[in-house]
Amino acid sequence: MIMHDLFLPTPLPLLSCGIAIMLGSIAWRRSIRRNLSIGLVTLLLALVSVGSHIGAAPVDGAALFLQDRWAVYTAGLVGFSALCILLMSWRDMSGPRADTGTGPHIGMRTDPRTDPSIGAPNATLNATPAGASSGTLDSTSIGDEYSLLVLLGTLGAFAMVYAANFMPFFLGLEILGISLPGLIAYRQGHAMQACEAAMKYLILSGVSSAILLFGIGLAYAATGSLRFGLPVAGNGIPPLVAMAATVMILAGMFFKLSAVPFHMWLPDVMQGAPVPVAAFMAVVSKIAIFSSLVRYFSMGHAPPFLDTLLYGVIVLTILVGNLLALRQTSLTRLMACSSIAHMGYLLIAFYSPGPLQPGTLGAYLAAYTASTLGVFAAINAFATPDGTDGTTILDWKGLFFSRPFLATAMALMLLSLAGIPPGIGFFAKFEIMATGMDHHRGLLLLVLVAGSIMGLYYYLNIIRLMMVPPSLPAIRRGPGASPELTALIIVLSMIVVVGGLFPAFIIHPLFPAYQPGPPPAAVPTQRLTPESM
C-alpha cells in the first residue's frame, strides 16, 4: 500500500524474518542447534546488509529511519558483536553434556556447596522431556529461547542505530531492554542471582525509560515533532521546556550507557548475568545507545547549556568507574566498572566534535568492541565443564602456565583495553587524546590520564595474576576451548593486533576523512580560527 514511501534498512526486515522463522522452527520441533544456526545465519545476513535498505530514502529527511555512514558503521559493530556473542554461547547452549550431567551452563559455577538450587539437577533433567539427541539434554527445553532473545535484542539495537525518529528509537531501546531480563535469567546454577539481576535491571531500566519517555514527551510538546534530534522549542513554548527535555533524554541515555551517577546497576547486573549476556550488555546495548547519543546531538555538537553537565558526568564517570574497578574481585564486575570508565573516555570524544571526531569514535568503538568481546570470549573459554567459572579474578591465577594461548589472548585484550601497544586500544586512546587536545579539553584529558593509570593498575593486575607461577609443580593443561571459541578468540586477537599496527587500514574504508592524501587542507577549518586557540 504505502511501500513506495517506506524507507527501511535491510537488517531490520532480515532480523524480523529470522525471528519469525525461528518461531516457526520452535513451533515445529525444538532444537537448540537449529535455532542457533538460524540465529547465526540471520545475524550474518544482517551484518552483510547493514549498508543496504529497502525503499527510497525520503528527500525531506522526515523518515523514521536513516542510514548514514555513522549508522552503518555502528550497525556493523552491533551486528558483529551479536554474531560473536551468539558464537560465544554456542558451546554452552548446544554442547553435549551427557557426561557432565550439569545441564547447559553459561558462565555457570556448579559448585554444589555454594549453590542451594542445584539440589536435584538430575531430577530436573529427568523430568524434562527427552530432547533431540541423546535424551539427556535439557538444553532443548531451556535454551531455545536464547537465540530468539538475542535476535530480538539485536533487532532493538538495530532499530536504535538506524532511528531517525523518537518512536523507533524508543521502541528499539525497549525491545533491547525487555529482552535482557530474559537473557539474564539464563544463568543456570545461580538462579537467585540471575533473577535478582533481572529484577534490578527491570526496575531501574523502567525508571530510566520513564524518565526518557518524559523527556521525549517534553521534546514533543516543545516541537510538535518526533524527529530524533535536539528539540528546538516551537511556537509558544518556552525554550526551557526543550532544554529540560534534552536533559531528561540525556539522563535516560546515560542510564543505558551507565554513566555516573546512573551507573549503579551495571556491575550488579553484569555480575548476575551469564558471561555472553554480560558481553551483550557491555557491547551491543552500549554501542547502540552511544550511536543514538551521537546522532541525537548530530555528531556531538552539544549545546552550551550542557557543558557543566557533560563535564561533570565525564569526569565522574571516568573517575568513579576506575575507582570502583580497582577493588573488584569478580571479573565480570570489573569489566562492568571498566566499561563504565570506557564510556567516559568515549564521551570525551563525543564531546569534541570536529574533523577528528568520526575517526576517533569509530576507532574507539571498534577497539572497545573487539577488546571487550575478546575478554568475554576468553572468560567463556576459560569456564570449563568441571566447575571453574572464569568470573572470579583469582581463578585466573597461573593461567599463563596452564593455558598459555588463552592467557596470551586475554593479556592482549586487557592490554588493548588499557591502551598499551600493540593493541588497537592504544591507537584508540591516542585518538581520543588527540581529539580532546584539539578542543582544549585539558581537564578531561587529565582525568583521562588519571583514569588510564588506574585502569592500567587493574588490568595489569589480572595479567600479573595470570603470571603468578602455579604453586603445584605439575601443570595441568586444561581442556582446550571448543573450536568455535578458539576461532573467535583468534579472529578477535587478529583484529586487535592488526588494528593496532595498521589503524588506518581498519578505519580508512569507513570514513571519508581517512582517505589518504594531505587531509589538513581539506579539513574544515572552523576550529582553526585564532580566537579558538
Partner: protein
Amino acid sequence: MAAFLIPLAVLCPLVASIILFTCARHLSTRGVGVVACGGVGLSALCCVILAAWLLARPVTEVLHVDLWTWMRAGGFSAHIAFMLDRISLLMILVVTIVGGLIHIYAMSYMRTDPALARFFACMTLFVAAMLVLVLASDLLCLFIGWEGVGLCSYLLIGFWHDNPANTAAARKAFYLTRIGDVAFLCALLLLATATGSLRIASEVGAAESGQVSHMVVNAATLCMVVAAFAKSAQIPFQAWLPDAMAGPTPTSALIHAATMVTAGVYLLARLHGLFALAPAVQALVAVMGVLTLLMAACTALVQSDLKRILAWSTISQLGYMYLALGCGIWQGALFHLMTHAFFKALLFLAAGSIILRAGHEQDIFRMNGLGRAMPGVTAAFVAGASALAGLPLVGAGFYSKEMILSGLWPARFMLAGHDIPAGPVLWGLGLLGAFLTALYIFRAVFVVFEGDSRTDPTGRTPAGMGIPLACLAVMSVFGGMVEMPDTLAPIHLFTAFLGLSPPQAHEPAWLVLAGALAPLSGLLAAWVLWGRTPRIMREMPGQASIIPLAGSTPRATDALYGLVFVRPLRVLLWFVRHDVAAYCLGRTGRLTRLASDRLELARRGMIGLVAGRTVMLTREGSILLGRMQDGRVRWYAAWIAAGLCAALATMVLP
C-alpha cells in the same frame, strides 16, 4: 728516547699491577715478588736514565710528552700529558728508589701472606699512580694519580680485611681524603673555567700575567690547600693517618710516610708560582702547618704504639713542610720531603722488622730491651731516629730542617696590606717542634731498645729486609749532606739541582746553633726521662699528664668528628633510611584505596547503612531488619533520581 721513557716509567709498574691482579693464581710467591719488584725496578731504572739525561741539560730544560687529548669540549681541553722538570725528577727518583727498596723489603716481610699478589698489585699500582701524579703536566691528569694513590691507600690499609677495624680505617682514610679531592676538583673547575685549560705551566703563566682574577686564584689555591691538607693529614684532617697504620708495615712506609702523604706538598711546591699570588692562603698554610707540627709532635709524645708514634711524627714533619711552603721556602719543603722519605721509610721498615720479630707486638712498653737481640735493626732505627730528630751532622733531617728554619727567620706575611714579620715566631715554634721531635722519637728508642728484655725476639731479620734497611740507613745519614748551611759548609747541590741560586746567608750563625741544640736537648730530655728510669716513666699512669692537651688530641679529634660529622650524618641517615618519596607514594596509594572503599560503601548505601545500624541499636532483636536496611535497588534508583535532579539543576541554574 726520553719521551719514550716517561710513559714507560709509568707503564712498568702499571703492567706489573695488572699482571698481578689478573694472574694471581698462576704466580708463585717468588713470581709475584719478581714481577712487582721488576716493575718498580724497571721504572726506577727509567728514572735514573731520565735523571742522567735531564741533568745533562740546562736546568730550565723541561721535557714535555703529550700522549693524547683526553677531552675537548666547548673551550676546554684536557690532555693526558707528562712533563719532566727538576721537581718531578726529584720526585720520581724518590718514589721509585725508595719505593723499590720498600718492595724488596716487602718481598720478605709479606712472604707468608696468602694474598701476596693482591698486596703487590696494589703496591705497584700505587707506584704507578704516584708517578702519574708527579709527572702529569695537566692538572686533570694529575688528578688521576691523586685519586689513584687514594684508592691504593684504601686498598692497602684495608688489606687485612678480615678485621672490620682495618676496613673501617681504610674507609675513614678514603672518605677524609675524598673530601679533599672534591676541593681539588672545585679548584680544577675554577681554573678550567677561568682559563679553559689545566696545563700547570699555562695556569701559572695565566695567573702571573693577571688573566685570572685575584678572587679565582685565592679560591682555587684555598681549595688546593684543603685538598693537600686532606692528603697530608694536616689539621683538621689529621685523623685518618694514625688509623691508617692498620695496613701492613711496608704500606705504611711507602704510602703513609714516604710518598703519598707528600703529594700535597708536591702539589703546592709545583704550583708555588700560583701560591705566591695568594699570600693570605700562604699565611694560612704556614699557620696550619706550624699548628699541626706542634700538635702532632705532642701527640706522638704520648703514644705507646710504635707505628702510631711514627704516624704522628709523619704528620708533624709534614707540618714542617707546609710551614716552609707557607713561607715560600718551597725548595726547603722539597728537601725535607726527600730526606723525610728516606728516614721515615727507614724508621717504618725498621719498626716493621721489630714488630715482626716481637711477634706482632706494637706496644713499645711491651718490647723493652730489644737492642741487644737485634743490633742491626737497632742501628738502623737509631740512624733513622737521629735523622728524624735532626741530630746535627749525623741526621739528614738536620740539614733539611736547618734549611727551613733558617728560611723562616726572615719570613713576612703580607696580609691585607699589612706586613707582618711573623718569621721569628714561626722560627721559635719550629725550634720547639724540633725539640719535641727529638724527645718523642728518642723516647721510643729508649723504651724499645733499652732496659731489660721483656720479649724474646725470634728468628733473624732476613737479608731481603736487611739490605733495604741498610741502604735507607745510609741515605738517611748522608742524604742530607747535599745541602748544608753556609755556616757549616758551602754545599748547595740540592738548590743547584732545582736550578735555584743558593740562599743568601742573611741569618746570624746562632740560628744554626740553635737549630742544632734543640734536638740535642730533646735527646737529653728523653734520656733523662726514659733512658735512665724507664720503669718509672712506664708505670706513670697516663703520660697525658705531661701534656694534657696533646694526650687527648687524637681522641678529641675523633670525638669532634663524631660530633660534627658522623653523628649528624648517622642521625640524618636514620631519618631518611626510607625513601621519602616512596613513602609519600604509599600514602597516596592508600588514600586512593580508601576513596575506592568509600565509593563502594556509598554504593551500598552509606546512609541506609548508618540508619539501619541506628535502628538496630534502638529496637531490639531486629538484626534481620537492620541488615535489610542495606539499601539496594531503591538506592540505585535514588542515585538516578539525584542525578536527574542535578542534571536539571545544571540547566536551570545559570
